[in-house]
Every structure is written in structure tokens, then in C-alpha cells.
Amino acid sequence: MAQDAGLATPDGAPVNQAGATETGEGVRRRDFINIAAVAAAGVGGLATLVPLISQMAPSADVLAESSTEVDISAIKPGQAIKAMYRKQPLFIRNLTAAEVAAAGKVDVSSLRDPQTLEQRTKEGKANWLITMGVCTHLGCVPLGAGEGEVKGEFGGYFCPCHGSVYDTAARIRKGPAPKNLEVPEYVFNSDTVVKIG
């Protein structure tokens, strides 16, 4: 009906379909209001997503527990312990000389995730193999750190879930896991205390 009669501003100036006055410089007040409203709602909506999404990330108390100190003085060569780091098992292993030698003999280029034992330990402390006790396949705890547990055919760790086998440098040798057991960040605070994380 309005179109039939022809649109007009209150003061009588004719208006085209886009809403701009044909006579003026194109006020387009309605367009301005539309764009401003949608932009404000869009920016506001996106801003609201920030807290909604980030509330799911690890909270402050979880992050506060993200480093651990472990006393390793009681671990004899050939022994290993399972410590807890970020609510996950951590393997601290005192390798025997034979195990260090076995890890050194492997042709690194033949490995799925090529790394030497030296790259996976601290300088001068090649016998201290500190890795996460989390299989890189789907996150099970491999066997081999506890007393009497199966170490697998490469003498390191064996994951019972899907059969991944790790060697004495905790490198993946066989099975579905794609990576070596993860070496977390750590420092030797002293000869007997390591700080992980």
C-alpha cells in the first residue's frame, strides 16, 4: 500500500526503495541503525563466548598443582618408581649400565620417533630416564615401572591396552603408539631431588 502511494519522509521528500531520500545525500538512518544494532549484538555475542568457552579450560587450582618435586635418592639402578604429576603417572627410572648401552646401540634412523637416549635425558645423568607413564596411543599406563611388571620385548615398557612396546629409552618400538613416551620438563634441583614441571 505504501509502495503504491509512494514512500515519503515525514516532511514529504520522496524516498526510494532502499530507504534513502532521493533528494538528500542518502541519510539511510534505518541502515545505520540496523548495522549498528547487529554489530553491537554480534560483538557482544562473541565477547560472551569468551568466558563461556574458557571456563572449561583447566582452572587455577588445577594449574597450581602442575609442578611436583620428587626425591629419587632411594631408587637403585634397575629400579623405577611411579610418581604422580598433573594427576597422571610419571615414571622415574634409574637405568643400569646395560640398559643405557642397549639404548645406545639402536640405529636411531630406524625408529618411528627418532631420538637418542641423550636427547631424552639430562647431560651427565643418562641413567635417569624420566618420562610420563602415559602411553602415547590412547593414554593407558604402560607396565614396566613397578616391581615384577612385564617390561616387553625391548626391556622398557609394555602397554597392555593395545600392545605398544617401548625400549629402555622409552622410545616406541612396536605397536600402535605414534610417539615415544613424553619427557616432561624437569630440572635436577640437587643430585637427589628433581622438580618436574
Binding site: 568457552i53 572449561m56 579450560a57 583447566p58 582452572s59 588445577v62 602442575s66 611411579k82 604422580m84 598433573r86 594427576k87 597422571q88 603417572p89 607413564g133 602415547t136 596411543h137 590412547l138 593414554g139 593407558c140 599406563v141 602397554c159 597392555p160 591396552c161 593395545h162 600392545g163 605397536g175 600402535p176 603408539a177 605414534p178
Partner: protein
Amino acid sequence: MSFPWANEYKPSHPFMQWMDSRLPLPRFVYNAVGAGYPVPRNINYWWNFGFLALICLGLQIVTGIVLAMHYAANAGIAFDSVEHIMRDVNWGWLMRYAHGNGASAFFVVIYIHIFRGFYFGSYKPPREMVWLLGVAIFLLMMATAFMGYVLPWGQMSFWGAKVITGLFGAIPLVGEPIQQWLLGGFAPDNAALNRFFSLHYLLPFVIVAVVVLHIWALHIPGSTNPTGVEVKTESDTLPFFPYFIAKDGWAALAFLMIYCAVVFFAPNMLGHPDNYIPANSMSTPALIVPEWYFWPFYAILRSFTFDFFFIPAKLMGVLAMFGSILVWFFLPWLDKSPVRSGNYRPLFRKFFWFGLIPSVLLLGYCGGSHAAEPYLMLSQIGSFYYFAHFLIILPIISSIERPDPLPFSITESVLGHDGNAALGAAA
């Protein structure tokens, strides 16, 4: 929708007339699941499973709301609160067993419902949306069931959560941050348990909403039937009420008898004993297996033990597992045969009974077993056939197959060629 001969809602009581002109909810119900919805007269018992699925959903929501009144979603006490439900809460044992076995029953019913669709071509035009919404419901069900299984915070709960959230870690670059974001930590803990509970309570209602869309989309063209021939005349249909309500009710009673037998006499038959050990992040169970209804998908996940071109084995397993369900979304366009029902497709029928069904059963068997030979090789064979069935075999047979002659109409398929028989029945 409806067919022109559908009964029309005509309220006789003045109150119902008053209501009908203000909020026509009774009219809506009458047209959806009442005498106003004409259904092909020849549908067989396989068509009862949609209704049974609805019963399962209701059962799960009711028992779940009750359980939530007594359960505590806190990693420190969740396990004990479940034992509290089992030992101290009045009838708590019944509610928990009904809910746990209700999930299994729901999946039995839904798998039959889905495979009914596979066999009778329920996904074909004009019912693609019905099918797509159904696959969406199935994905929601899987998420809900997985998160529900985590809540008792036993060993299987914990390690199941760890393995499944670990799947996201397989995504290149962003995998680990996504995994930590999903868990709210570095491993499943209180934050993860709480959000799983929140979502486990939410998702069933999302399912209800999608079920409404599923039925809405179904009622546009109307239900399929075992011949796959579309409804032509009034003599092809009977009203949903009372005919099919009665038949669904009969099926519901038969279903509930079996369900109750399991709940009362073998409530732990389908569960895993390790889930009665409290969650321990330092010790992995000897065999991590999901609930039986995920076994085929779990077998596909584990069947990739080798890198696939440049894609690492782990990522490939994850992609294949999700792909095994996502391929259903493309089914209406993969199977191009204009004949819907497997009853008239001799070649399709052979591959269905001797290919698809055995491969899924084989995958299910392997998924519940240790990840060692011969199960890995069998899973690989099963996975290969499974994908080949949808991506290669169906497109090929739909172009080379010569279908059997279809009946002229649903009425003819029920009453035979004799036109007088049809007239006689109508008279």
C-alpha cells in the same frame, strides 16, 4: 501432512472445542499419534522399534532423574554415592540397574531400528531428512551413554574417559589443547566428571527435541512399509490409533518382559566387573573395553595399526571410527537403487545378510577382545568390508542389480491380485 482420507479431528465436547480454537494441542496429538495419522497397513514387527526406542528414552529420563537426586558428581565421593544408591537409598538398586540396563536395551532397540532402515531402504527419497535426523540422534545417544558410563567413577569409567578423550589428542597441532579444554585438566578428574554429569543430564532433552523433528519429518511422507511401495489409496492404510497403538503396546509388553528379566535376574550381565573398583589414575585395567554397544566402533578404532600414507595410525583409527557413522549420513546418495525394500532386491539382500551383518558382528566380537592377534587382523577384515559395503558395494549393486517385480500396491501385496478381494475387504 496427511493423506486426503486421514480422519479429521472433530472435538465434540464444548471444552475441547474451546481449547481447539485457542491451543490446538489435542489436534496436534491426534494428527501425530492418533486416529489422524494413516499408517501403511502391512508394516511388520520391525516397525515396532521406533516406538520401543521412545519407551527406552522415557525410561532412561525417568530413572535418570531419580538417580540424579542421590548421585554426587564429585571425584572424591562419586563412587561411594553410587554404592550409597545401591545399598541405602530405597529402591536405589532398582533405579540404577534399570538405568544401566536401560542403556543397553535402548541400544539393542536402536540398532534393530537402524538396521530395519538399512534393509528396507527407509533412508531413500523422500525420507532423507528422517534418516539424517536419526543418525544425529544416534550420535547424541552415543555421547550421552559414554558420559553416563563415566559417572560411577570406577576403573572402566575413568579409563574409558581417558581413552575416549585421548582420541581428540590425535588431532594434529590443536589436539592436546582441545583435550585439556574438554577435560578441564591434564587427565580426567573432578572438572571432567562434573561437566560430564551436566551434559549427561542435558543431552537426553536435546534428544527429545531431535526425536520430535525426526517424527515430524517422518509424518510428511508417512511411514515406509515392507514392500517399499508408496501408499496410493485409503485401502493401503489404517489409522495409527487404535490399530498401531495396540500393536506397539503389544511389542512394548514383550520388550519390557525381556528387559525386566535382565534387570531382576542378570543386572550385571552386560556390565564390566572392573567398574566396581574405584577409579585409580595410576593403574590401568588389564583390558579396557567400552560397553558392548560400542564394541564394533572400538574395533574399527584399533584396527589401524599402521600409518596410512602420511596419516599416522592413531589419527587414522580415530577418523575411521567417526567415519564409520558419518558414512551413514551419505547413505541416501550412495544407494541409488529406486527400489526401497530389500525384499525385492536379490543382490542387495545377499550383501546385507552375508556381508554387512557378519562384518558388524565380527567387529563387535573383536572390539570386546584383547588388542592382539587374531583379533586385530579380524578387525581389519571387518573394517575393510564395512567401509567397502557402503562406499563401493552399495553404489555398484544399485546400478547393476535387476530387482524383483514390485506389487502394484500395498493392498495388492496384502490381499493378492484378485481385485474383488480388495473390494470385498473394503466393503
